[in-house]
């Protein structure tokens, strides 16, 4: 599903984010990438959804090389990838349902088809009853679950979660983890980054550790 070959990423200011990463993640895996702040976790995910390009090396996602990918090809690839962020990135003046349906509306799907897809996604994250609420009427955990619903509404085979529990308390963090495990159980490949010890301790799948841009054995 995901493959990185000798990937180096050096930012314009000279900061080395990733240093010779070789990584293969097979379809249906659930991987947790740990590491302290600045270790390169977010950069690694950005390379996977095409927001950054490697300085050297190759990145493949779902059989597609991401080298210099842009425009329509990148947009089409992103429809196969769901992305979740620590800060949720919800649109404040749109309801939960509208936030979740954004891509479906952009694809020109009929309202009935949008309802058919949005409702199951909201049910999956236990938010069907809040579909008409605005983000500022939701708790942090509910906002993150809305973001998960938005990420999975197009039924992507790959889900990337960048510190999804970074702003949440322990109860909400574990709820998010349970939802991601449920999605993994449905066949979705999940790659998550975190430095949250609670999450790391409760995680029963593959763990990887990034230290100064290099992949090392988990501590």
């Amino acid at each position: 599903m995901v493959s990185l070959e000798q990937v180096h990423k050096v930012y314009a200011n000279g900061a080395i984010a990733l240093n010779g990463i070789n990584l293969t993640i097979s379809k249906g895996a659930f991987v947790l990438i740990t590491g302290r702040s600045g270790s390169g976790k977010s950069t690694l995910l950005k390379l996977l959804y095409g927001a950054e390009q490697p300085t050297t090396g190759q990145v493949f996602v779902a059989g597609t090389s991401l080298q210099n990918i842009q425009g329509k090809a990148l947009a089409m690839l992103r429809r196969k990838i769901g992305v979740i962020f620590q800060d949720y990135k919800l649109i404040p003046n749109r309801t939960v349902k509208e936030n979740v349906a954004m891509l479906l509306m952009a694809q020109g799907l009929a309202p009935s088809e949008i309802d058919k897809r949005v409702l199951p996604a909201l049910k999956m994250v236990h938010l069907a009853h809040k579909q008409d609420c605005f983000p500022d009427q939701l708790s942090g955990g509910e906002q993150q679950r809305t973001a998960i619903a938005r990420a999975i509404v197009n039924r992507p085979p790959l889900l990337l979660a960048d510190e999804p529990t970074g702003n949440l308390d322990s109860e909400n963090s574990l709820q998010i983890l349970r939802i991601l495990e449920k999605l993994h159980g449905l066949g979705v490949t999940v790659i998550m980054t975190s430095h949250d010890n609670l999450l790391i301790d409760n995680f029963a799948h593959t763990k990887m550790h990034l230290n100064n841009g290099c992949l090392v054995s988990p501590p």
């Binding site: 959804y49 927001a51 990148l74 947009a75 992103r78 429809r79 990838i81 990135k89 649109i91 009929a110």
Partner: protein, 305 residues
Amino acid sequence: MTTYTASTLTIKLRYLLRETWLGMKRGGWMNWSAVSTIAILLCLFGLGLLASWQMDNLLADLGNQLEISVYLQEGAKPQQMQTVLSAVAGVADADIIPKDQAWQALLTEMGKSGIDQVTELLGANPLADEIKLRVHPQADIAAIASQIKDISGVEEVWYTSAIAQGLQQLRLAISLASSALVGICVLVAVSVISTTIRLIISARKTEIEVLQLVGATKRWITLPFLFQGIAYGTLGAAIAYVILWSMMRAVALVVDSQPELVQALLGKIWQDWRCYAILPPALISFGNGVGLFSSWLAVRRLSGT
């Protein structure tokens, strides 16, 4: 392969129009600065067009009244020359003014006291036989005069070229002045509209980022902003047309009480078919073009990633 049915296109169009409307709502009062700037620009553009059409009308009217005076050489037969000159393309009518008649008229104009002095001074009648030609309204008077000058038996040709040339120069000056004003206003309008749309893009930064991340294409993200530019152009054109139309109605009400020169200059431009058939589409096309270009300038830097 993607197939687009009519219903898919309708749904997409409805979505785009909704996003355009949301963008305009987000713009608030900035929308009005963009619309009023474009309305001012289009008013000037419209006034330039109206002035140019009015000059065309004046020149056409003048063409109806223009005469060419052809003075014949000594010995040339006026009747024969009348036939020859009537056959020249563009000539509508030719009248002979015999030199004796002209001399008598001249002497009468000068008064009796002058006759002896003039006759003594000049000896005999010094005038030549003249043929006055009227030309067709759309004919090129200068070309006809030049052609006649080469006809055997013609001594001299004279016509009121100064008036026609003066009007043509005035028309050119109006065109240049209005083009310069419109040019400056285009720059101001482009600057105001693109800044407005940039500010709206900035306010919707997160939304655009999310759309990019969920896989919306660049075209899909930028279309509502381009539609917004077109909406500014259309609204500006509508306002400009209402202003121009009101101005024409106001002129129509007072023109009859104005001096003759003012009446001649203003003519009856509001009765010109171009005010109704050409002005509205010209304003809309120009306004939409400026709006579209300005919004394109604002969105072209939106990253494809």
